[in-house]
Assembly symmetry: C2
Homo-oligomer: 186 residues x 2
DNA sequence: CGCTATTATGTAAGTCTTGACATATAGTAC
DNA sequence: GTACTATATGTCAAGACTTACATAATAGCG
């Protein structure tokens, strides 16, 4: 089983979805912490079905092309539940902006500050978007957010990681930009 | 040019290094935001040399095997300087722990809490390590840390990202664990 | 003398991921 | 009519990355 396989099972444990639906999910929401293109999703679904973790049924549609809707099996749910509490395999993170920061001493200070001010803005905007989403969840889902056995609790937990991440990213970009601009002012 | 290529150029802009040295750098320090195995580094060095971005000279050693020491060229430094101020290509982040969190509602609360308490500890330890490093830098490097044209400033900037990241990670893990444990207590 | 570790450089096989190619239906805009 | 967008499913080639294989010098240990 690949991590992408578990990502797909995680989505199918909540609702039945087609390959196209899964692709859309990976673009939005879930895409903030795991993503894949349809060219990766369709073959993976075939492998999952071969392994007995999902089954599909063909839905015939008049106004649109027919589609295959996938459903998680008991076996699929079993492996997902096992995987979910195993400590993740630590693999080297790759952050291109930090890599650039590591060589930023070579750059023109104005251009460098512009880069980090731009990235700061990007992260601030993403943060604002996440915070709106959280406010909506708190209003709409209420008590469900406090129940660890409810999927909505899990959705909110993942969102909270996004909020903390974006806040940290924006804070760091601001710090780097200020440090560079500060020097220029002196 | 690949991102790994720029990562290597970033290291070579600071000092001359062999493929082996680069591999060691990617394991430690730099490895926190970019990493690669020697099997990826040696072919990449060959490509960089073919492109005229680096040159090597063979150093004969008596007590150890001979080595090739690589040096960045003016052209290599040129492309590095250009790359460093370009906004990074945004690519989907992949975080296995967040993916697990998204399906945590399926897990036994005790096991789920144990997972996040364990990860919280891991991040706290990494944070402590980074903070020690920062204290050492501030004591040892002093004024250099405030100069944006100094490599030490850039090293410190990258480290600050690590500190903010680990602090956020630990905070989030604690929040998730508490949320799960809180429910059990009620 | 063999075993292991460190330094040192490479190749090969396989997996993961992206980007391009490919097809088909239906609705909307020009 | 033509072009474009959304829905829907696939394949293929190439690149990025990991794991394992492969070699070689020296030093230290038992």
């Amino acid at each position: 089983m690949t991590t992408l396989g578990y990502a797909i099972l995680g989505l199918l444990s909540r609702e039945e979805l087609s390959g196209y639906d899964l692709t859309q999910r990976m673009k939005g929401r879930v895409g903030y912490f795991w993503s894949a293109r349809h060219s990766q999703i369709y073959p993976e679904l075939a492998r999952l079905e071969e392994g007995g973790y999902v089954v599909h049924s063909v839905i015939e549609q008049q106004e649109r092309p027919d589609k295959k809707v996938y459903e998680i099996t008991a076996e699929g749910l079993g492996v997902l539940k096992e995987w979910v509490v195993q400590p993740p395999v630590l693999k080297s993170s790759r952050d291109e902006l930090v890599l650039k920061a590591y060589s930023i001493w070579l750059a023109d200070p104005d251009e460098a500050a512009r880069l980090f001010r731009g990235e700061e803005l990007r992260h601030e905007e993403q943060l604002a978007h996440y915070e709106e989403l959280e406010a909506w969840m708190e209003g709409e889902w209420g008590e469900d957010l406090t129940r660890p056995d409810n999927a909505r609790f899990a959705t909110h937990a993942a969102l909270r990681r996004g909020i903390i991440y974006e806040r940290g990213s924006a804070e760091w970009c601001r710090w780097v930009a200020k440090s560079i601009e500060g020097e220029r002012a002196v």
